[in-house]
Amino acid sequence: MSSGTLYDKVWDKHKVTELPNGQDQLFIGLHLVHEVTSPQAFGMLRERDIDVAYPGRTFATTDHIAPTEEAKRKRPLEDDQAEKMLDALDTNTAENGITFFDFESGRQGITHVVAPELGLTQPGMTVACGDSHTATHGAFGSIGVGVGTSQIRDILATGSIAAEKQKVRRIEVEGSLNEGVYAKDIILKIIQELGVDGGVGHVYEYGGPAIEELGMEGRLAVCNMSIEGGARAGYINPDETTYDYLKGREYVPEGEEFEQLKEYWESIASDADAEYDDVVTIDVDDMDPMVTWGINPGQVVEISEPVPAPEDFETETDQEAAQQALDHMDIEPGQSMLGYDIDVAFLGTCTNGRVSDFRRAAEILEGHTIDDGVRALAVPGSETVRRQCEAEGIDETFIEAGFQWRRAGCSMCLAMNDDSLEGDEAAASSSNRNFIGRQGSKDGRTVLMSPVMVAAAAVEGEITDVRRFYDDRADALTAEDVSEVAD
């Protein structure tokens, strides 16, 4: 059993009582609501004639079904089903006195982008949302958990969830990142090493020099994909980087109140002598950019590594899974992902739809145009991100390169709006899941990578080593280099 960790401290602080089934009733300090998983929960509440217990701790936005084309963001929405969902959220938030960041608010966007940038997410909180990527909020040293609709009902009714404490695995990330290698590559590396079910039964505490060096947006990207590693939550202890980010945000108190809160934030960080259930060390020194080759985020390689063969895996089921992935992606074992043709480039999502992601991608796109055959979408994670990018002229760089510059939403990450892969299109994607059918077509192919790698792929029309774009360095890898490795 862990002790003295941030997880232990935040849990104890929010534990209401032990339930008769042995679970803990845990208070949720910030409840984020979106249009897809909440209408049924509000319906259940209505059936029971119960009011929302903590409307002031509940915030709503619309993201999954939000049209990202300017012309399509008029109410009623063209898509009847989407309009119905949005209408339900309008009604449910208005009736219950819940703040809703709708299209008119200027703050609409993906829950996991909006809450951090407004300062709603703070260290030492428990955060829940009907979306698995609630793990994102752990970047602040909070405990963020994704929940199902019945649990949304629980939170609306009681401000609490019934939950069991998990084990805590400390992931010590050693080394420092090469040029062209980012937070997204770190988390893909962690999932490569520990597996997509490596985190089952655990929350992940990320630490070590490579994590401490990350800015808040990089930390959000790392924690975001904890769920892809099977962990229910992932977090990073708050430090000066965290406090600097929070200062001046809309929902963060100022002056003395800020200092008082900071005392709490500092107090909940893991103790130097904290005990963990497990400690794992991952070295990211000299690591190359990561790309997926398969149909789950654990089927991933450094760009210098060849695609594995089924026989490289131990169990029969892993071998079958690898074969299925190779068939779906239409690639051969030993092949390099460099040179893999892409039809679509997608930059955005709760993993990589933040200002720094667009800034870095814009640096790659500057002075280049995207390949003729590529459909390229830049979708800011929130309207705040969009405005900031536009203020910096980043949108112009994207548009001049040939990208479509869109409005905020989840977009082609799960294709619940109009943005979708068609047929067997292959996408270079900054999103978090490469599952079959994830981007809206059951034959579609998704290759996960960092934002700069997406920008580079858009320009080349194929997966490429982004380091070619930094002063045309001669040491960037080519497919030939990788097949030499394979030999």
Partner: protein, 200 residues
């Protein structure tokens, strides 16, 4: 809502093997079918893409074992999205219990919320049950939630059901809203002690 008994001590019915590790919720219930404000039609969308080739039903187990109550799955079943639509679709299709090697956490939590026991067993046991179902598609599997056993044919094996899930199902306290609603005064005490709420 589907009516369920409050106390779930055992489940019986024919089985359906759903093969493969790491089956994600996007396969179980593709995102495009979540654009409905109720769960009513979710059964129609269960494994929608996997069950069809060019629009025609294929030999997916859910097509071959229609009417089954017990799904027998492999490792890390239900990974990915938190969407309750996935277990809702299974329940509304007819699944009353799941036996598998392991589950993604949120998926298992969602099963508990719906009163669906999710039992675990090792790879060999799960494989044997899957093979047995293939040979005996019309025979019942019996899951004793209290005793944590699965009986198929003449064989009874021990399985594990997470402690909290087992107790909640057997004692009829899996409706966590009512359970927690009775503790609202304690919730207020907890809130009063949270610095970030005082500070508002």
């Amino acid at each position: 809502m589907v009516d369920k008994p409050q106390h779930i001590t055992d489940v019986s019915g024919t089985g359906v093997p759903i093969y493969g590790d790491d089956i994600d919720t996007d396969q179980i219930l593709p995102a495009r079918f979540m654009k409905e404000v109720t769960f009513d039609n979710m059964a129609d969308y269960l494994f929608y893409d996997a069950r069809r080739d060019d629009g025609e039903f294929n030999d997916h187990p859910l097509n071959r074992f229609a009417g089954a109550n017990v799904a027998v799955v492999n490792k890390n079943f239900g990974m990915g999205s938190s969407r309750e639509h996935a277990p809702q679709a299974m329940m509304r299709w007819g699944i009353d219990a799941v036996v598998g090697e392991s589950y993604a956490e949120i998926f298992r939590d969602n099963c508990k919320s719906l009163g669906i026991p999710a039992a675990t067993a090792d790879h060999e046991t799960v494989t044997e049950i899957q093979e047995w179902i293939e040979a005996n598609p019309d025979e019942d599997i019996h899951i004793d939630v209290e005793a944590e056993t699965v009986t198929y044919g003449d064989t009874t094996v021990d399985v594990e059901i997470d402690g909290a899930m087992q107790q909640a199902l057997v004692e009829g306290i899996w409706d966590t809203t009512s359970l927690m609603y009775s503790n609202m005064s304690k919730v207020e005490e907890t809130v009063a002690d949270l610095p970030y709420i005082e500070a508002e």
